[in-house]
């Protein structure tokens, strides 16, 4: 078009928009490139239904069918995480979604679900026999001790801190190998017995079981079926550095009132875990400490067993008839972990497995392929329709869809890396549905444009006018669509969330694309002569012929546009 002045001014305009878009792309994709590594590099994180694995949605229930409070929920998540990770799965995820807890174990199977869903069993058992297990790297361990909480309890003066300022090796173990004469290497390392024959931590005590218990095997350490309060058991501690023969459970989780982490009042630095008992539990606990107090090691230790695994085995330094404090050179984090474990064990929290699913790797692949195929078909259909209906302008639609696809893909990769968003089959469905929403913004814009041109405007002036009006409609409609996605996200769980998430994400990005790409692109294209050819655009002027501005103009069309 021969209007140099305006062109140069307008070009600046267009360039600015496209520049912002290019900047967004640059930032997004530099994040994509630096995010992730290895096989997940440049790829979105896939949900379990697409890569195979086990997923279970748990509804935690407190005593009497009540909803657990947030603190209880957090403690439960901690434990569940330890459970799945203890089973040797490193990438397992445990997240809270509304009232539910969703556990995902990539590559998991039915066993992983069973591990997760069992109820917590917290027991306090006296140690009968203790064996240190020779580890490749032996780190010094320290004694954990239990002392009564500073209280005016008669006859139980608070003992001074015991010999335990050394750092403990890891976790919360409480092995005291030094004075034990039975320090022997684990005998069973040579053969790899069948899984079914493994003696798991928490099994009934027999001399044979004790000998066979291989605490170096993470599977063994994950614990097994363990509700045997009336029997002696064999157990490993959590990092596998010691194995125990434990007496019957005298105190159980129900006896525990609560636990919290604090700092030793006397020293002011040492982290300690405070443990409170309920009325009847208190008596049981006092009796247990009476039995253990002043016994030769290791029988002065009381093992705290959670799910068949020893999480701590402090030695009893006095008869405790009040709250107890456990010290042992913990870091704050270790102390918190122990307190959470105790709390959780004390929590009469049960899990109901609402929806448990095991997807084999081949089904995952199959679903991914189908999702992509469905998306491909949908996309091609939209592209063909756009070309048919809007002719050359269909290319604008296609270009916009491509830009949109680039933004959505980059965002999903980045979100997968940053907030762990995993693309599920429902998520892909959300993306496919959003193709419609994205393309529809162009429909609204183009139809407006068509109207304006039919009314007698030149394509150039029509683009700006149509945009002002289309913008309103697009924003209103996208708002409702976003509203639906957000609400859907907050009331749903599992796969549904994925659907809502991708739908909302693409709706937002649709606004970005329309504002920063489609509109500037059309403005720019409207400067070309071909834009005025009806055959190419499908836009007709007022008399059904070519748009105004192409033929000699008989009438001037008023362009008094005032739009809010």
């Amino acid at each position: 078009m021969a209007r140099p002045g305006q062109t140069s001014r307008g070009q600046l305009h267009v360039g600015r928009y496209l520049g912002v878009l290019a900047a967004i792309f640059a930032i997004l994709y530099s994040t994509v490139i630096f995010a992730g590594s290895g096989s997940s590099w440049l790829k979105p994180k896939l949900g379990l239904d697409l890569q195979g694995g086990a997923q279970v949605i748990l509804t935690p229930e407190a005593e009497g069918g009540k909803k657990p409070n947030p603190a209880q929920l957090a403690a439960a998540v901690d434990i569940l995480r330890q459970r799945v990770n203890g089973a040797g799965v490193s990438e397992a995820e445990v997240v809270i979604e509304g009232d539910q807890i969703v556990v995902q174990v990539p590559g998991g199977n039915r066993e992983s679900i069973a591990t997760v869903t069992k109820a917590a069993q917290l027991q306090f058992r006296r140690v009968v026999e203790l064996q240190g297990v020779q580890q490749p790297v032996t780190t010094p361990t320290s004694t954990t001790t239990v002392v009564p909480r500073a209280s005016p309890a008669v006859g139980t003066p608070k003992p001074t801190a015991t010999t335990n300022k050394r750092p403990i090796s890891s976790g919360l173990l409480a092995a005291t190998p030094s004075p034990t004469p039975t320090l022997t290497p684990s005998p069973t390392a040579a053969t790899a017995p069948d899984d079914a024959d493994l003696v798991l931590s928490g099994a009934v005590y027999t001399p044979a079981n004790f000998a066979a218990l291989d605490c170096t095997n993470p599977k063994v350490r994950a614990g097994g079926a363990t509700d045997l309060p009336k029997q002696e058991i064999v157990a490993c501690d959590r990092d596998g550095s010691a194995k125990y023969r434990l007496a019957v459970a005298k105190v159980v989780g129900e006896d525990v009132k609560g636990a919290n982490v604090g700092v030793d009042q006397a020293t002011g630095v040492e982290v300690q875990v405070n443990l409170q008992f309920k009325g009847s539990g208190q008596d049981k606990w006092t009796k247990l400490t009476e039995e253990a107090f002043n016994q030769p090691p290791p029988t002065d230790q009381v093992a705290i067993v959670l799910d068949g695994v020893v999480i701590s085995a402090p030695s009893i330094k006095s008869v405790i008839n009040g709250d107890a404090q456990i010290t042992g050179g913990f870091t704050r984090k270790q102390g918190q972990e122990l307190a959470n474990n105790l709390k959780f064990g004390a929590l009469p929290l049960s899990f109901e497995a609402g929806d448990a699913e095991v997807v084999s790797a081949s089904l995952g692949e199959d679903q991914l392929r189908s999702g992509l195929l469905a998306g491909g078909i949908g996309l091609i259909a939209v592209v063909l329709y756009s070309l048919l209906y809007y002719r050359a302008l269909g290319l604008v639609t296609i270009a916009s869809l491509l830009v949109s696809a680039g933004l959505v893909y980059g965002s999903i990769v980045v979100l997968g890396d940053q907030i762990g968003f995993a693309l599920s089959l429902a998520g892909i469905a959300g993306l496919i549905v959003s193709v419609g929403i994205t393309a529809d913004s162009f429909v609204v814009f183009f139809e407006r444009l068509k109207d304006e041109i039919k009314e007698g405007r030149t394509p150039r002036s029509a683009v700006d006018r149509a945009w002002v009006r289309a913008r309103r409609t697009i924003l209103s409609a996208d708002t409702v669509s976003l509203l639906a996605a957000v609400i859907l996200y907050f009331v749903s769980v599992g796969g549904v969330r994925g659907f809502a998430f991708t739908l909302g994400l693409s709706t937002l990005l649709d606004v970005v694309v329309v504002f920063l790409f489609t509109r500037p692109l059309l403005t720019w294209l409207s400067r070309f002569r071909w834009f005025s050819h009806s055959r190419l655009t499908g836009f007709y002027g007022p008399d059904g012929g070519e748009p105004s501005g192409t033929a000699p103009r008989k009438t001037l069309v008023p362009t008094t546009v005032q739009e809010a």
Partner: protein, 392 residues
């Protein structure tokens, strides 16, 4: 295209050029009746026939194992029941890779029972137990999902009413919500009538339909609002007529909106139904497909006429209606037929050939008039139908 000036263009052509003159509001009673009948059928089916609810709602276990393509379903069912499982539903499904899978649906099983079934199936079909897919749903899970969906629905409806009331006006919100419920009932009714399995994915899809149905309605209402913004300043057009003009102006846009939304969904439906057998995609797609179709219909044929009916009750629009009637009788002019003209905020009365049957005579070239060459007239000028009228 000069030939269009000579003969009246066909329907497709008029649609394409946005020159339709469907008397959507005049015929509204017919649409109301049609919608009412459909809603009653759907509701009746939901009450008397109910839904075919999936395992996710009633609880149960599903196992899926690769099997030879000629697997004997009856024999497989007997085999599963020999494991102590009652009422197993056994069917074969195809994977996208063309393999056959045996899908076994059972009552809720304990974890041990489930493990037993998996082990037995692995042995029978000679596959690794790790390749068997399973799903286990607790009996109360479905209730929770349903409860959440209903909660979501309620929150959404409230949010939408507030949004539309602020962005447009309360009456539009009312009309939009009625159209929305209409779409929901129809989509749910199709599930009841066809007895397709209802899963949580179906529920999601229904909730998504809400968004779409409103999206579509808002596109139309946006135009109605524009056309009626200054409507009280003239007396040539009633609210209903302005709304009808808006519907006709956005007719193609609305169809395009729905078509373009339907196209990707039909891709989902195709792959879900024909290539995957049972699955998330199919569950989503049918509800979306029905809901979108119904949404397109309701925003044009239900929401806008309803809105017009609601608005015509307002005293100011009653007065306007009276003014328009008076003017037409006084001037002896025939009732102004709606003409198609793409004008915004300035509904313009164009040349009228006759009353209801005007359409055949009037091609786009004669019906559509640009107001520009006309001298600007003051309000209440000569009540001739020939007068183009501008406001503002």
């Amino acid at each position: 295209m000069p030939e269009t000036l000579q003969k009246r263009p066909g329907l497709v052509n008029r649609l394409y050029h946005g020159n339709t003159t469907f008397p959507l509001i005049k015929a509204r009673k017919r649409f109301y009746a049609a919608s009412l009948i459909l809603v009653l059928i759907a509701a009746g089916s939901m009450i008397f026939r109910g839904f075919n609810v999936g395992v996710e709602f009633k609880g149960g276990d599903i196992f899926s194992v690769s099997a030879p393509s000629n697997v004997d379903i009856k024999e497989s069912r007997a085999f599963v029941e020999s494991l102590g499982v009652q009422e197993a539903i056994v069917q074969t499904v195809k994977t996208s890779g063309g393999d056959t899978k045996l899908r076994i649906e059972t009552e809720p099983l304990s974890a041990d029972q489930g493990n037993k079934v998996v082990a037995a199936l692995a042995k029978k079909f000679g596959v690794d137990a790790a390749t068997i897919d399973s799903k286990s749903v607790g009996a109360t899970w479905g209730d929770q999902v349903t409860k959440k969906a209903l909660q979501g629905l309620l929150v959404f409806l409230i949010a939408v009413v507030i949004y539309i009331s602020i962005r447009f006006e309360p009456k539009m919100a009312a009309a939009a919500i009625i159209a929305l419920i209409h779409d929901l009932v129809l989509a749910a009714g199709v599930y009841s009538l066809t007895y397709f399995v209802v899963t949580p994915s179906t529920v999601i899809a229904l909730l998504t339909v809400l968004g779409y149905s409103l999206y579509d309605t808002i596109v139309v209402f946006d135009k109605v609002e524009e056309n009626t913004r200054a409507i009280e300043k003239q007396s040539t057009q009633t609210y209903s007529e302005a709304a009808e003009l808006a519907v006709n102006q956005t007719f193609m846009r609305s169809i395009n909106t729905s078509l373009i939304a339907l196209l990707p969904v039909s891709g989902l439906l195709f792959v879900g139904a024909f290539l995957l057998g049972a699955g998330t995609l199919k569950d989503l797609a049918l509800a979306l497909f029905v809901g979108l179709g119904s949404g397109a219909y309701s925003s044009l044929f239900l929401a806008t006429p309803l809105l017009a009916d609601l608005k015509e009750r307002e005293p100011r629009f009653k007065a306007l209606h009276q003014r328009v009637i008076d003017r037409r009788t006084k001037g002896g002019a025939a009732p102004v037929r709606l003409s198609q003209r793409s004008s915004y905020a300035t509904p313009v009365v164009a040349e009228v050939a006759s009353t209801e049957t005007a359409a055949p005579a009037a091609g786009p070239a004669t019906v559509v008039r640009r107001p520009a060459p006309q001298p600007k007239r003051k309000k209440g000028g000569r009540p001739s139908g020939k007068a183009g009228k501008r406001k503002r």
